[in-house]
Structure formats: C-alpha cells, structure tokens
C-alpha cells in the first residue's frame, strides 16, 4: 500500500513535469521537418515502368526523353545554422538517428523529422548527399537500424563490394524506345593501414542551402520544403550527359550500375562538384513556420 502511494506520487510528479514543458511558453526545443520534393523542373516526378503513360517524362539538354521507375538517395550529416552562424549538428555521427533514405515510391520517406532542435532562428541548412567517408563502412554493429533500412528489399542501398552504402539509385528508361538506364552512385574510397584514403572516388557531396525565410524554432515546428530537381542528372551545371547504349565508355556517358568512370559526372551534376559551394540539384521551395 505504501508502495502504491509512492507510485501514484511519482506518476503525479511526472505528469506535472510533462504538463509543465508542454504548456511552457519558453520551449527549449522543437521539431523541424524536412520535406523532399523530387521533380523534373517544377513538375513532381511520377514514377512508372517502361510503357507507363502516367510517368513524368523529361527531356534532357541533349534532347533525350527519359523517365524513372525508381528514385532513391541517402541524406545524412544534417546541420542547421543559426543567424549568428552557430551550427547545430543533427546526430551527424549517428546514421541510425541522423540519416535517412529518401524513396520516391514510399511517401513516408519523403518527410524526415529532426527531433529536438534547439530554439532559435535558422537561416541555412547543410546536409550530405550520401554518407561521409568515415561512416561509410556498412557497419551493422554500430548502426543496425540504418543498415537494415538501407539494405531492405525495398531500398537496396548496400554497395557490397565497396563495403559502403549506395548514395543514389535511379532506374528508368530513355529515348523513345525506352531503353533501360541505371544509375547508382557510391564512394569507392579505400583506406590503408594508417586509415588514409589512398584510392577511389568520393561520391559524397555536401549541400549548402540558404533559407529564403528564417525558420523559427520555438513554439512552432517549422517545415522546410526542399526540391531535388532530377533534370540536373543529365543536364547539370557540370556536365551535359548524352546516354549511349554502346559499351564504348569513352563515348560520353554510358549508364552503368557499378563503374565509377562515368559515375562522377552524374554525381557532380546532382550534388555539385566536390569542394565547391554548388548545391547541385537541390534548392529550397519554402519554409513554413
């Protein structure tokens, strides 16, 4: 009986605390939702198979029509920057709680909620397209949830031979006869005994976007709508890509699932060239407070 009283008392205390923080005008943190909109220009992408009549068709700078049956990419290393320059990292060293796979076929994945972002006025967002090389080791022991999410049959974002994650996976069709295109990106960096990356390509890209409206985290939980314009894939700032079906790899770009010779052209187009401030295919549509 005494025990029961204790329980009731502590429950009451808990409720008191909980109600305190929800009624508190001086919230210390709130959520920020990132909403990813995958488009060709301003048109939302509708996926479809080879002969689909509903799929969104795009025409590249080189004049090639194309549409997609699959669009997936990894977003990680998210940081929000306050007006005063303070950078708030969001679980940037924890793929289980700070990374996600955006999958156009699964609407739930298009919104990613950042929990408990400290109160403040945010004017910039940074995130990674792909996984930073120091975390890109398919380490199931450290990050079992992200490993499972990325490796599921729905996403297939493990790149086994490179023991890393696929950063982007796009399947689709091009030209009027709907030949298959397949674009996978990922890093092939390999480290030596001293932990230095001594070979391979780094397909990770850091994206920096200024917010057109300040995102005010406080009693409000802002939503930042981000556009990923896949027109950039073939018609980017870095490269105008003509897809060819021959095995001649010197003939501009043959889409290939596993070869990094041509991969970096696509990577630069959608993620911007490495070590530049280019934001690739990404831009901010709106900030709603």
């Amino acid at each position: 009986m005494k025990n029961l009283k204790k329980y009731i008392l502590s429950a009451a205390v808990l409720v008191a605390f909980a109600s305190c923080s929800s009624e508190d005008d001086n919230a210390v943190a709130n959520n920020v939702t990132l909403e990813f909109n995958n488009t060709f220009g301003n048109t939302p992408i509708v996926l479809g198979d080879a002969t689909s009549s509903s799929a969104t068709v795009n025409t590249s700078e080189a004049g090639q029509v194309h549409h997609f049956s699959e669009v997936k990419y990894v977003v990680s290393n998210i940081r929000l920057i306050k007006a005063d320059g303070t950078e708030i990292p969001y679980n940037t060293n924890d793929l289980d709680n700070g990374a996600t796979v955006i999958n156009q076929a699964n609407p739930e994945t298009l919104s990613y909620v950042l929990n408990d972002i400290p109160v403040g006025d945010y004017t910039e967002i940074k995130f990674g397209l792909g996984v930073r090389s120091d975390l890109n080791t398919l380490d199931q022991v450290s990050f079992p949830e992200f490993y499972a999410k990325a490796g599921s049959n729905e996403t297939e974002m493990h790149w086994e031979w490179g023991t890393g994650y696929r950063f982007t996976k796009i399947e689709g069709f091009y030209d009027t006869d709907n030949k298959e295109l397949s674009f996978h990106s990922g890093s092939t960096l390999t480290d030596d005994a001293d932990g230095n990356f001594v070979q391979g390509a780094d397909a990770y890209r850091n994206i920096t976007l200024s917010l057109p409206t300040t995102a005010t985290v406080g009693n409000n939980a802002p939503t930042i709508a981000i556009k990923a314009d896949f027109d950039y894939l073939l018609s980017g700032d870095s490269h105008t890509v003509t897809i060819v079906s021959t095995a001649d790899i010197t003939n501009n770009a043959t889409p290939s699932a596993h070869t990094s010779t041509e991969m970096m052209k696509y990577v630069d187009n959608i993620g911007g060239e490495a070590n530049t401030t280019s934001s690739g295919m990404f831009s901010i549509i709106s900030v709603e407070n």
Binding site: T188, T190, Q199, I249, S256, S260, M263
Partner: protein, 342 residues
C-alpha cells in the same frame, strides 16, 4: 618441502584472486606465432603489424574460414570456394555462392597475401581485415550479415573457448572475426616449390625443359610476373577476352580512372598448375590456352599495356616455347602448401 608448500599457497591465493576478478586482469597465454618470412620475399603489408598472427588467433581464423554458418542458409563457408588443393581457389569459371548463385569473377587463390598490397582482381581492398565482410554480405556469395553470423556462433562453446583463448574473453565481435580470419590468411605462405628449393641451392635442378622455360620466362614474362611473388602487383589491361557482364570495368571500378578500364592486378603464378581456369572470369581452361591467346594476339584498346602495344598486341611464342614455359610454371607448385601428394 616447506618452500614448495608456501609456493603452492601463493599460487592458490593468486588463482582464487584472479577467479574473483571477473576476467579483468586474467592473463592469457596466446603467443605470437613464429612467422618465418622467406628470405627473398618483399615487405609485409603494413596491416600485418597491427594484427600479428597468434597461436589461437590463427586457430580461430581457420575454424571461421570453414564455418558454413557464415552463409544465410548455412551451406557455404570461405573454404567452399577457397579450396586448399587449388591454392585456396577452385575450378569454377565464376565463383558459386548460396543456392548456386553465380558470382561476378573467378575465385582468386589465397597465398602469400601477407606480402600483397592490393587484394581482389581490381585491388578494391588494401587490408585483409577489411575484406572478409564482402563475401559475407554479397548476394551471390553468402548473402548474410555480420550480426547474423555473430548471432549464430556466439553461444557455441567451441567458439566461446577459442575467442577467450585468442582475445582474452569469450565476446564474439565483428572485429575479432575479421582479424582472426586475416591472421589465418597471413599464415598461408607458399615458398617451398621446386623453384624455391633451386633458388635456395638445396640440391635440386631443373629438367632441360624446365630450364629452357625459365629462360623464356625471364625474357617474355618476368617484367610483370616479377619478384618472389611472381607478380609486380601492378594493374594492366592485357587485352584478354572481355567479360560480357557490363558491370566489369576492372581496376576502373575502384579508381574511376578511364585509363584503368579493364585493367586487372597481375596475378601470381605460384601453384598456377592447380588453379585452372584462368582469367578474371575463367576465360581460359588451360595454361596452353592462355599462351596460345597471347601468341595469337589480344584485344586492342587505348589503354592496352605498352608491352603488348609495342609488340603488335601479342607475345610471340613457338609451340616448343609454350611447352617449356608450362614445364617451368609447374616448378612453382608447392605440394606441401597444397596438401597433396604430387
């Protein structure tokens, strides 16, 4: 007598102490193994020094190497494809994994890897410790995951015993699995072929054909198949028949450099008699077929190796030279390493 009694008492005291000690400072007796480096071999891969083979590390690694629970349906172990009598390769053109799934390339032999700086046909790994995860997770190989493997073996008393002996406690961790397999692989050294014994002046001599072959080898092969490893570990496109699998880019798959397209690491020729078929996807059933191909002329390309390019895309060989070369290459067989009677 008194002395012995007091020593015994001290021992009992110490023992009971450490038993109570929750393993924290339990000393374990796991000496580094005597690692005899053949005199003419190149330097060890520097990863070796941070994962030196120990008695029980190697024993554990060998047990894991033959562990079929590494695969999703407990049917395939490392040793399913890496068969000792084939210098730890096999005789399939392409590797075969769970449910008969066909892999991407020909199974490479595992020998003298402690002295290699690049692993796999395309050099995609630089440390053995980072390699063993790849077959565990690859769909066409074992199609499992490291946590699945750990879950299957961690309560097995044999493993509890060996992990404790090797690492001081019975925890089965991913790194311990990777490290012990690498330790075992480091010990797979082939350096006792007839060729080696002749080099060491141990009284054996080449037959006339073998001696002829050795001379031809020196003239026409040794610029790539160099050092005591019989590979200079460079990556070269030598115009072998092209893999119809469009995923194949050779070394370029790793580097992204178009100049590396369809380049592969020069393979060792040790125990080559026992590792047929040959080529990255098993293009050639016999050594003779390889030599015939090089003699007839190879596929031209922009990045064809200059040695071939400057020689009309071929290595001219008479039929007699081919026979003698093959005779020489059989002197690179190490029956002790292969565990076979010649």
């Amino acid at each position: 007598m008194k002395n012995i009694a007091s020593i015994l008492a001290v021992i009992v005291l110490v023992t009971s102490c450490s038993n109570d000690d929750n393993y924290e400072s339990t000393p374990f007796d796991n000496p580094e193994i005597d690692f005899n480096i053949p005199a003419n071999f190149p330097l060890l891969n520097s990863s070796f020094y941070s994962n030196k083979p120990t008695t029980f590390g190697v024993e554990l690694g060998e047990k894991l190497f033959t562990e079929k629970r590494f695969s999703i349906n407990n049917t395939v172990s490392c040793s399913s494809c890496h068969v000792q009598t084939s210098a730890f390769a096999d005789h399939n053109t392409l590797a075969v994994g769970v449910e008969g799934r066909i892999g991407f390339r020909n199974t490479p032999p595992i020998q003298n890897l402690a002295f290699m700086n690049f692993y796999n046909w395309d050099g995609s790994k630089l440390q053995l410790e980072n390699q063993s995860l790849v077959p565990i997770i690859t769909h066409e190989e074992m199609d499992s995951s490291i946590l699945e493997v750990i879950g299957k073996i961690e309560n097995d008393p044999d493993y509890e015993d060996l992990f404790e002996k090797a690492f001081g406690d019975e925890d089965v961790t991913a790194d311990r699995i990777y490290n012990s397999i690498a330790q075992y692989e480091y010990t797979l050294i082939s350096a006792n072929s007839k060729y080696d014994r002749i080099q060491r002046n141990e009284g054996e001599t080449y037959s006339a054909h073998e001696a002829e072959g050795a001379l031809i080898f020196e003239n026409k092969c040794a610029s790539c198949h160099s050092t005591a490893l019989f590979t200079d570990q460079s990556f070269r496109n030598i115009g072998f028949p092209i893999n119809p699998n469009t995923e194949e880019a050779g070394r370029a798959r790793v580097t992204g450099d178009i100049d590396d397209y369809l380049s592969f690491r020069v393979p060792t020729l040790r125990n080559i008699e026992h590792t047929a078929p040959y080529g990255s996807f098993g293009q050639f059933p016999t050594l003779r077929a390889v030599l015939d191909y090089l003699d007839n002329g190879v596929v031209d390309s922009d990045n064809l190796d200059p040695i071939l390019k400057n020689n009309n895309n071929r290595i001219p060989l008479t039929e007699e030279e081919k026979s003698n070369l093959i005779a020489f290459m059989t002197t690179l067989s190490d029956v002790e390493f292969l565990g076979i009677n010649d």
